[in-house]
Amino acid sequence: MVPISYYLVLSAILFACGVLGFLIKRNVITIFMSIELMLNAVNLSFVAFASYWQALSGQVFVFFVMVVAAAEAAVGLAIIIAVFRTRQTLNPDRVNLLKL
């Protein structure tokens, strides 16, 4: 059986991948995907700890994290559509003013 710490190492590497993508990307949709990657890395360590402590609260928390991620994706993608409609760009460096 695989020890719990292997799952934690995998979760750490996935989170670092998400951070790297968040820092180096210029397309706002891909930046959003990096955030989803980080959320999933955290979910993996939640489930690993829940399985280790035999406490199902960790899995309930994963459920809540998914709810928040779904809400965030809906609102964030709506903002992306609105921004693209007014500025014709997906580059966050060019969206530096709230008002046109």
Partner: protein, 170 residues
């Protein structure tokens, strides 16, 4: 209780998750990134199954791989991808980003190697056929108020998304 999956599957699913996570952050085309992210999410669902969490696996496949990623692909199709592809995909600060994320990963690994003694190599299992039932009991008893707040949050998100994405009628 015998393990449900051999160690091979852990390494296989981890390799798939890592390779597709790297593909997510290195592809130029956002559609390719989204498809790689779906593969990552599905392999994470397999890992949840190995951790005896079938409820989380189901929600991961249905909500993440099925719902959120379809939303992502929809938005990629809605924005003008031809014009967006002509812009620079990676910014100039990739060296700083690489250093920052390597430092973060090194920090995580340092914490792990410092504290690995407190993690036992074996852990006993919850009977898996009870999992969904137990999670449901927990949600509707101990976590009833957060559950209701989550439903309110989703309602607000739906209304906000519709308000922001709708066309202005002039």
């Amino acid at each position: 209780m015998t393990p449900i999956a051999p160690t091979f599957f852990f390494y296989f699913l981890s390799a798939v998750a890592l390779i597709s996570a790297i593909l997510v952050i290195t592809r130029k085309n956002p559609v390719h990134s989204a498809l790689a992210l779906i593969v990552t999410l599905l392999s994470l669902a397999g890992l949840y199954l190995m951790l005896y969490a079938p409820f989380v696996t189901g929600v991961q496949v249905i909500v993440y791989a099925g719902g959120i990623m379809v939303l992502f692909l929809f938005v990629i199709m809605l924005v003008n991808i031809e014009r967006a592809m002509k812009e620079e995909e990676f910014n100039k600060q990739w060296i700083a980003g690489l250093i920052a994320s390597l430092l973060l990963g090194g920090l995580f690994l340092a914490v792990y190697f410092k504290g690995r003694a407190i993690f036992p190599s074996e852990f006993t299992k919850i009977p898996e056929q009870m999992n969904t039932q137990q999670v449901g009991m927990l949600i509707f008893q101990n976590y009833l108020l957060p559950f209701e707040i989550a439903s309110l949050l989703l309602l607000v998100a739906i209304v906000g998304a519709v308000v922001m994405a709708k066309k202005k009628l002039s």
